[in-house]
């Protein structure tokens, strides 16, 4: 039990980078980017292939970061310069990446067992994952306070306004989606290192998991400030993995039910806060109505006397 919990936290840390990427597009840029399913695998494929070619794992991770970034930049270009609908640009890149990923991997499944690895010992996954996630969160936090970071946030918040102040919103979207997918690809490469293999289907459904993490995190911590939102996303990614691990322990469920469990978790994260809010409003409203009525009743009684 404790072992699977630890495994869930470790996996959560690796997937947190992907969730942070999804947060940048969905929440900061307000751009529904579906490239993620493709770029996650791209990261894994590049990381694995470079490592097999004898390149040090850390450099392979950097390679994954760059390739994911390029994929995101392509999506951004399709949307801004090609004037293609945002959802469609992501879908187009996702399907294009499917073939590209197969080309990079050379075959559907590549093992890196026995190769050099970022995670050399059992415990290193927790520490390295943790340090990476913390540094990425701190860097993003600082980045979103810079002039360029502010214009990125402004682009998602009110692009008409920010254009009137001279920010190039096309550039913000292209680079923002690029940064997002670079993080996603990093996450993919780390997962490949952790599983000691990469396959061309490992990214399927990633966007949904990323969104689930963002939504769970926001449901728990809220998103009032950027740092709070960033921490919420990381927390959401870890909690998603924990729920998932727990669900798998329920008798009758096994790993083929994973997508269904994911869907149920998301529905839960979306619906529970809404129900809670409306219940709270109802009860507060009822209480206040009674109070108001009571105070009116007192006045009347006073007047009649």
């Amino acid at each position: 039990m404790l072992d699977s919990l630890r495994g869930a936290v470790e996996a959560g840390l690796l997937y947190a980078l992907m969730a942070l990427g999804v947060y940048i597009t969905f929440r900061i840029l307000d751009f529904p980017d579906l490239t993620v399913d493709g770029s996650f695998t791209t990261g894994a494929a590049v990381g694995a292939t470079m490592t097999i070619a004898g390149i040090p794992p850390w450099l392979s991770l950097l390679g994954a970061f760059i390739c994911g970034g390029l994929a995101g930049v392509c999506t951004g270009l399709l949307h801004t310069k090609g004037k293609i609908n945002g959802l469609l640009s992501g879908i187009i890149m996702m399907i294009a990446l499917y073939s590209i990923n197969l080309r990079i991997l050379g075959k559907p499944n590549v093992s890196i067992r026995g190769e050099a690895n970022i995670f050399q010992t059992e415990s290193s996954q927790f520490w390295i994952g943790g340090i990476l996630v913390v540094s990425v969160v701190v860097l993003l936090l600082l980045f979103f306070k810079t002039d360029f970071g502010l214009s990125l946030r402004g682009t998602g918040d009110n692009n008409r306004m920010i254009r009137s102040f001279g920010a190039n919103t096309d550039m913000s979207i292209i680079l923002g989606v690029g940064l997002s997918n670079a993080l996603v690809a990093c996450s993919g490469a780390l997962v490949a290192f952790s599983q000691k293999s990469a396959n061309n289907l490992m990214g399927i459904g990633m966007i949904v998991i990323g969104l689930a993490s963002v939504i769970i995190g926001e449901a728990i911590l809220g998103a009032r400030t950027v740092w709070r939102a960033l921490i919420a996303v990381v927390l959401g990614a870890i909690i998603y993995r924990i729920i998932y691990a727990l669900a798998l322990r329920v008798p009758g469920f096994d790993s083929q039910d994973m997508k269904l469990i994911t869907a149920v978790i998301i529905v839960g994260a979306l619906v529970i806060p809404t129900i809670r809010r409306s219940l709270k409003e109802k009860s507060v409203g009822k209480k206040r109505t009674e109070q108001v009525l009571a105070s009116l009743g007192n006045d009347k009684a006073g007047g009649a006397r």
């Binding site: 970071g149 402004g154 920010a167």
Partner: protein
Amino acid sequence: MLKIESVSKLFNPGTVDEKIALLNGNLHLKAGDFVTVIGSNGAGKSTLMNIISGVMKPDAGKVWIDGYDVSLLPEHKRSRWIGRVFQDPMAGTAPRMTIEENLAIAYKRGKTRGLGFGVNSKIRSIFRQELSRLGIGLENRLGAKVGLLSGGERQALSLLMATFTRPQILLLDEHTAALDPARAELVTSLTETIVRELKLTTLMVTHNMEQAIRLGNRLIMMDKGKVILQVDESRKDHLTVEQLLGEFEAISGKKMADDRVVLG
């Protein structure tokens, strides 16, 4: 300072829905001019604003700012010269960002946005000082989300953001129309003060006749995509709303029709 030369703009050209928004429009603003623009519905006032700011490209004609031909420049490049306040109080500010973050975005008008921090203690004190000019206490709420401000406060902030970097040209597109009378009066008087103090060349669209006469040194009237009347400084001083409406009827042969028109 601002020159518009035989500018035309059609919507849906070549279709049954074709609509002439601007027809061979000419306008010349000298540095320091404060021109108010009035006109009936669909007269082309907003199109004129959009063409100057680069939101729309004209089908014919040229726009010059400060001696540069900017006709081909996209909106975000023209904004180096142009400050703009929209009618919708929600349009000029970013609601999920704080007051100081909004100001930081405005502060970088026309400059490259790099990886330096948008707000530091020196910039913050500039913001505080600028905000105190509005006199509505925003200087003590730098960290507040702009989405929490009222419409009037947001519009006052938009006005400050559009002007405090001293753009060459200020475009005001019915920027008090969506506010209640008291707030509208506040924003109008702020506009007057700021334009006078910073000597901004200003073009202001308004549906308030009284305001159009009271503010600024020149007035133009538009109808069906054309400038039909220009009133200069000497005549504008003793113009009345009745005279203005009379002029409109005499020239266009119809009554002024604007569902939101306020006679003052």
